[in-house]
């Protein structure tokens, strides 16, 4: 019964997709300019030339073309989708790495010490809701380098979920475990590494998962703002040309990469899960 249920739901998914794409395809046929045009009509580009929502077949065609040569490099403003995604992933990972480097130790500190938690909490609460893009002009002005600024923006938006989740995980470690550590006369450092860290690890990884999701959201917006390289710039460049097929294609790619980053951290979280 269960097997047939999953089979039936899979079948329904496929049918829904086919209906959706089929009707989209039929509703968005590109009109053809059949009769001979006057000069004015030619200069106006005819009906077939203007930007419109493309049918799925056009997007698939473009995707095949782009993915068959994802790493072409035709000058500083025209690179393949693979290169652009590579730039974005690199920025996200660097920003994310530095955020983890700072957020996890500080999270430990404020999780273990109520004094530090109360002292730092007001700052965290003010800084946390600031949109990362609002930092961008300030970062550009102070750092004077657009690459570093983009990485800084990733850093500043990745840090909070990790910090708060780490603090939460650390402060909620079961008291009897800490007491056992105390009876064994473990030093605070050993207690932190051998008892608290493994116990808080799942919560910390949840924080990292939230962070990487936010970082991936932000990098697209940041690159749209600054331009140059990256998937955000790719979207912006195609939007200027009102080339919606490329825009939709890049949206799908952004979704795919975001999903892969999330899956990777979800898998890591499984590894450190602790079942009583």
């Amino acid at each position: 019964m269960l097997k047939s249920l999953s089979l039936r739901s899979a079948l329904l998914s496929v049918v829904l997709l086919a209906v959706l794409l089929g009707s989209w395809e039929l509703m968005n046929q590109i009109p053809s300019d059949s009769k001979p045009m006057t000069e004015y009509e030619m200069l106006m580009g005819g009906a077939s030339q203007e930007a419109r929502v493309p049918p799925p077949s056009a997007i698939i065609e473009l995707a095949i073309k782009e993915l068959s040569d994802p790493f072409y490099d035709a000058g500083p403003n025209d690179k393949g989708i693979g290169i652009q995604l590579g730039y974005s992933i690199y920025r996200v990972l660097v920003g994310f790495f530095f955020a983890a480097l700072i957020a996890i130790p500080v999270g430990f500190l404020i999780g273990m010490s109520p004094l530090m938690y109360n002292a730092l909490n007001p700052y965290i609460q003010v800084l946390r809701p600031i949109s990362p893009l609002a930092w961008m002009p300030l970062a550009l002005f102070i750092i004077k380098d657009s690459e570093t600024s983009a990485i800084f923006v990733i850093f500043i938006c990745s840090i909070w979920p990790m910090l708060l989740n780490t603090a939460f995980g650390v402060s909620n470690v079961r008291k009897d475990w800490i007491n056992v550590a105390k009876t064994h006369e473990l030093s605070p450092i050993k207690t932190a590494l051998l008892v608290i860290l493994p116990a808080a690890a799942p919560t910390i990884l949840t924080g990292m998962r939230i962070s990487i999701g936010i970082a991936w959201l932000v990098i697209v917006a940041a690159e749209m703002l600054v331009g140059g390289t990256g998937i955000g710039y790719y979207v912006w460049n195609e939007w200027n040309n009102l080339d919606l097929a490329s825009v939709i294609f890049s949206i799908l790619m952004i979704g795919l990469v975001g999903m892969l980053l999330d899956m990777f951290l979800a898998y890591a979280a499984l590894l450190v899960e602790y079942k009583e």
């Binding site: 200069l43 403003n77 004077k144 657009s146 331009g227 710039y233 912006w236």
Partner: protein, 488 residues
């Protein structure tokens, strides 16, 4: 200077004498119906190609694929003179010797007894073609047709000709272009003519002395309205409209303000002016966020192509020959790298003059349309550059100077811009108009380089303008501001 012959002296198959059947690059070009700059390019091309044939491109360390022209010709001329003197100017013995030992060996042997490279360098130094302090440059541009000279210089090899390896970097908007220039990420950049003035004075940014050696283009903007407003052609009906301009410190902003104020509307109270990066104009017009905009092309023509707007008026009809975009860099860059700056200036002036010729416009349109540069359909760019365009109202217009290119940075243009900055309250207090204009707009220097390159710069650097029929006298900027009814 006159050349003996530009055939490769190390190639035994080529003669170094100009005989009737001489096939050296100079002779070939002299008999062809090309203009001087094309002849020059042709000579360079064939000199380079003949080198490739003999040595194979990988064996020529000093001639990489980016061959810098004048230098190559000089090099060839020096090599030729040295080789010919070795063989006592006897063509026969030169060719028979070379056919025995081969070009590579001959060049190596000669190199041991005669310092060829030093001789080349010494001669170039004495001819004012000094070594470039920096040959790899980053130049920023915003993807609009105003940047045509800066852009086309790249695919058409104007930078390479002067020994520069330029990366053109597309920029999302003017604020980012300004910040990246201030941060030295860009060595030089495409800017709006008021920007270097504002940056030098610290209006809207930190003060850093910027210079504007050349104006990129004149004219080349338009007021575009949404197709729903075809019945509102009188600006008096525009109360409450939302207009887009690309930047606060732009000719677009000042011309739009001037235009509506002349029609009795206060640009700060009766209409709303928003700053929108040029590439985003069409999308915003389509979405109805804007009723119209005064923007650079190709986005005026693109709105027509997309059937969402029409051209209400070209800015050329507000002020014939007004400046629009500029080529600018920091004073620091020019002082630290005089030779590079000179090479860059020569490339840009050459490219600007090349763009000014109507017969080159079609070819340029095709060169700047790809994704790497403007990323627009070729017919849209072509309509802008050739001036034969659909106006969105059912007519085909023919305005060859809809956009034009003239590198000379008139000081009086700078003064006019400053008067408008003061008129609308962007700058305050007493301003020494002429001093600022002359510090930022390097008309004298540009005139000198134009002369060197064989163009005819104007004799003076100031002149009066008529804008919508009202005269601007550059000697009386303060009186000019006072003469307006609507001002801040």
């Amino acid at each position: 200077m006159s050349f003996k012959s530009l055939n490769d002296p190390f190639n035994e198959k080529k003669s170094l004498l100009h005989k009737a059947d001489c096939d050296c690059p100079i002779c070939k070009v002299e008999s062809s119906p090309l203009n001087p700059s094309q002849k020059q390019a042709e000579v360079e091309r064939s000199v380079y190609e003949s080198s490739i044939q003999v040595y194979g491109s990988h064996e020529m360390p000093e001639h990489n694929s980016a061959l810098d022209s004048n230098e190559a010709i000089m090099d060839r001329a020096i090599e030729s003179a040295v080789v010919r003197s070795v063989f006592g100017h006897n063509e026969f013995s030169r060719r028979s010797f070379l056919s025995m030992v081969g070009a590579g060996t001959a060049a190596a042997v000669l190199g041991t007894v005669f310092p060829m490279e030093e001789a080349k360098a010494a001669l170039k130094e004495s001819m004012g073609m000094g070594k470039l302090e920096k040959s790899k440059l980053n130049i920023g541009f915003v993807p609009i047709t105003c940047a045509t000279p800066i852009i086309m210089a790249h695919p058409m090899g104007f930078y390479e000709k002067n020994g520069l390896d330029v990366s053109l970097i597309k920029t999302a908007g003017w604020a980012v272009a300004r910040d990246k220039s201030l941060a030295k990420e860009y060595d030089a950049a495409h800017m709006l003519t008021p920007m270097p003035l504002a940056m030098s004075m610290g209006a809207g940014s930190t003060a850093k002395p910027f210079i504007m050696p050349t104006v990129e283009n004149i004219n080349g903007q338009a007021i575009v309205l949404h197709v729903d407003h075809k019945d509102k052609r009188d600006p008096k009906q525009w109360k409450g409209f939302k207009f887009g301009v690309p930047f606060e410190y732009s000719m677009h902003n000042f011309l739009l303000r001037y235009y509506v104020a002349e029609h009795g509307l206060d640009p700060d109270k009766d209409i709303q002016i928003r700053v929108v990066p040029p590439p985003e104009m069409v999308a915003n017009l389509r979405a109805g966020n804007l009723d119209g905009y005064l923007s650079p092309d190709p986005f005026n023509q693109r709105a027509i192509w997309e059937k969402v707007g029409f051209i209400h008026t070209l800015t050329k009809d507000i002020w014939e020959g007004h400046p629009c975009c500029a080529f600018a860099c920091s004073k620091e860059f020019a002082v630290e790298n005089p030779n590079t700056y000179g090479a860059l200036l020569r490339s840009i002036i050459d490219a600007t003059e090349y763009s000014a010729k109507a017969e080159n416009r079609k070819e340029i349109s095709a060169a700047i349309a790809p994704k790497n540069y403007l990323n627009q359909p070729v017919p849209v760019i072509e309509q802008v550059l050739t001036g034969r365009y659909a106006d969105g109202l059912g007519g085909v217009q023919n305005v060859p100077d809809r956009i034009d290119f003239d590198p000379f940075p008139w000081h009086s243009m700078g003064v006019w811009i400053l008067t408008q900055m003061k008129r609308w309250g962007y700058i305050e207090g007493n301003i020494d108009y002429n001093k600022i204009a002359e510090e930022v707009y390097l008309a004298a220097e540009t005139g000198k380089v134009m002369k060197e390159l064989g163009y005819a710069p104007p004799e003076k650097t100031y002149k009066n303008y008529f804008i919508m029929g009202k005269e601007f006298d550059y000697n009386k900027p303060e009186e000019y501001i006072a003469s307006f009814a609507i001002k801040r």
